[in-house]
Symmetry: none
Subunit: 214 residues, 4 copies
């Protein structure tokens, strides 16, 4: 059905924005906002530089779209991951670790996180959005679950927010490691293993005293 020759113009209005955002994602993640060149983004998206401006008004707009697009799917996955509150807490956590590992491994969150960190001062509203729509909800759900488990006596005392951070930080660091040091020759971290080992460590560390339970 496709014409044999390669047409000079492709008409794909509906697909273009996503293709551009995907290409921009790669370039921004590699170079950062300022060092990324629209030429590169256009080339990687397989369009002309001018075509970018059919869909986005400025370079900043493209960047915003990239970061925004990083929020939505992660939010969904995360909610899924934490939806089943009724599972026993340890099992919940283990499931959570698995999902987080898979997100970390096969989605571009790494690049997005890197960009949010690197450009938070240049694009404060994006950092704010990210925190409000992703980071705080996630921290909120987790520390809520932790507090509940503490109330039930399943976990020992301790500031729930700090506990949540203790819980997730190695996975985040794993992602950052992959973005930062692996391209430069470092051995990749085995995130699933790290996550699993860490969850077990955390669960043991949070287990109430045997004596207290008596």
């Amino acid at each position: 059905m496709l014409p044999a020759g390669q047409p000079k113009f492709k008409r794909r209005k509906a697909d273009r924005p996503d293709e551009i955002v995907a290409a921009a994602m790669d370039v921004f993640a590699e170079k950062g906002f300022a060092a990324a060149r629209l030429d590169d983004i256009a080339a990687r998206a397989g369009v002309s530089k001018g075509a970018l401006y059919l869909y986005f008004a400025t370079k900043e707009d493209i960047f915003r779209a990239v970061i925004e697009q990083g929020v939505a799917p992660n939010l969904g996955r995360l909610q899924t991951a934490l939806a089943e509150h009724d599972a026993a807490f340890p099992d919940l956590l283990r499931a959570f670790a698995t999902i987080v590992s898979s997100i970390a491994t096969d989605s571009p969150v790494g690049g997005i996180i890197k960009m949010v960190i690197g450009e938070s001062r240049n694009f404060p509203e994006l950092a704010r959005t990210w925190r409000e729509r992703l980071v705080e909800p996630a921290l909120g759900v987790m520390s809520g679950a932790i507090a509940a488990a503490q109330a039930r006596g399943e976990l020992r005392a301790g500031d729930p927010r700090h506990c949540a951070i203790s819980l997730v930080s190695p996975m985040l660091l794993g992602v950052i490691w992959r973005e930062t040091f692996v391209p430069v020759g470092a051995e990749p971290l085995d995130i699933p293993t790290l996550a699993q080992q860490h969850v077990e460590l955390w669960l043991r560390g949070m287990r109430p005293d045997a004596g207290a339970a008596a």
Copy 2:
């Protein structure tokens, strides 16, 4: 006619490079490498733009100097922190947590880490240097100590490198949080408390089974 407060001696030229690096540190940490302007750096350092070129050949050189300068003092502090292998492991860790907290709180590592993360692909040799001279030595020392403690039966089994990451990641994340979300309105994390709580959690989580010890 000169104001009385006028310093008798002009700033020694020997100080200039450090002042420039300090100013550059601030600007690079805020904007990233590409978005930082030499005008801003010069202005913040209180020198003319041309003066930068009396001490550094290029913008990249200044950036390198900033990153380099971030390595050295931290390296020293870290070695100090981990030098006294003969303390009991828990006490060693507690001391370590204190030192790391203070570094995290009142040195500009935060900004440097942010820059290393953000520019690792644009300046691979800097990321490499950082890893080789700071990250790997630190991880090495720590996982070595952990492995030794495991061998002595003081800690339970588990990949020492992963254990080390589990140990330090919340502090690193705390620093990143400060650079990323606090300027955008987030509540700062209480890094010393977080560190302390996490170290206790980690120690409990790594404590060998009571049964196994029997």
Copy 3:
């Protein structure tokens, strides 16, 4: 399902060029040639951008058509206005003033004049055309009539070309005023009144000395 008001027949293609020229007239008059965008012209003409190229080869062609179209009807009106040489000169002039006022008031000459003034250096041949086909003929007819009246002793001496300019300039300025200052908040000039008052002034100013006539 079709709205009742839907025209039964589509606009005839034969009308398109004129509609485009009319739309272009508005846009060019507002923005000038270079700042006018074909998108705007197409939108105002109610056609696609590509459609412009079915009728005109380039943006310049559209512009030329606009200017050309400004010449023809005015030329006709002018000739009509000055055709009746046999009327008494004062009456001729009064009739002329009326016609010029109405042209000035309800035709787009204002915009065209503005464009001819603004783009004369960028499109010399258009300025030339305008002068040769409209300005010089008009000036010629008028100074001819003036010279004739002078020869008959109805008007006092004086360079006829300058006299003609003295005669028409307020009307022209009125049109320019409308294009320039009215859109920016100025009170419009009452061109008919201005014209009438000026013609009477001019006639008195050109009346031969009573003594000379004696």
Copy 4:
């Protein structure tokens, strides 16, 4: 005193802005705002394109400066021209005609007027400024003087504003003619002669009836 070689950089901070504005004046007057290229302005000013941005933030800023600069000196000249209210009205007018002629002949007002006309819709605030600071004051002074002379019985009745326009319009048109048609091959108008002849015409046309005076 000047170095023999031609230095690559000239340091003339104080002079540059004026040189740039002067160069821009020429280019804008020839091409209009949109069609003028900063390259041309820079070249004509004898500086690099980048140097423009040392003194002006945008192309629009340069344009504004050109128009603004056209206001001030003309305002001064105009005030001078109309200052001597106590001369007999006819002599005042004759002096005025001389001064206006010389302004028209040897200042760049022509170009500025052309630009104000052509860009009034794109830069409304400039058109407004021009009208408020130059056009209206001038019209005001003139119609004031005319009204006074009418009250003294030196001039016949008639709307003073219209009379003022009748008076100045040929000179303005002469300037526009020079900008529009002379570069395209037209014979220049002899503005001084035109002005003088027109002032006499106007004075006669405004002279009160002999009978009325009796």
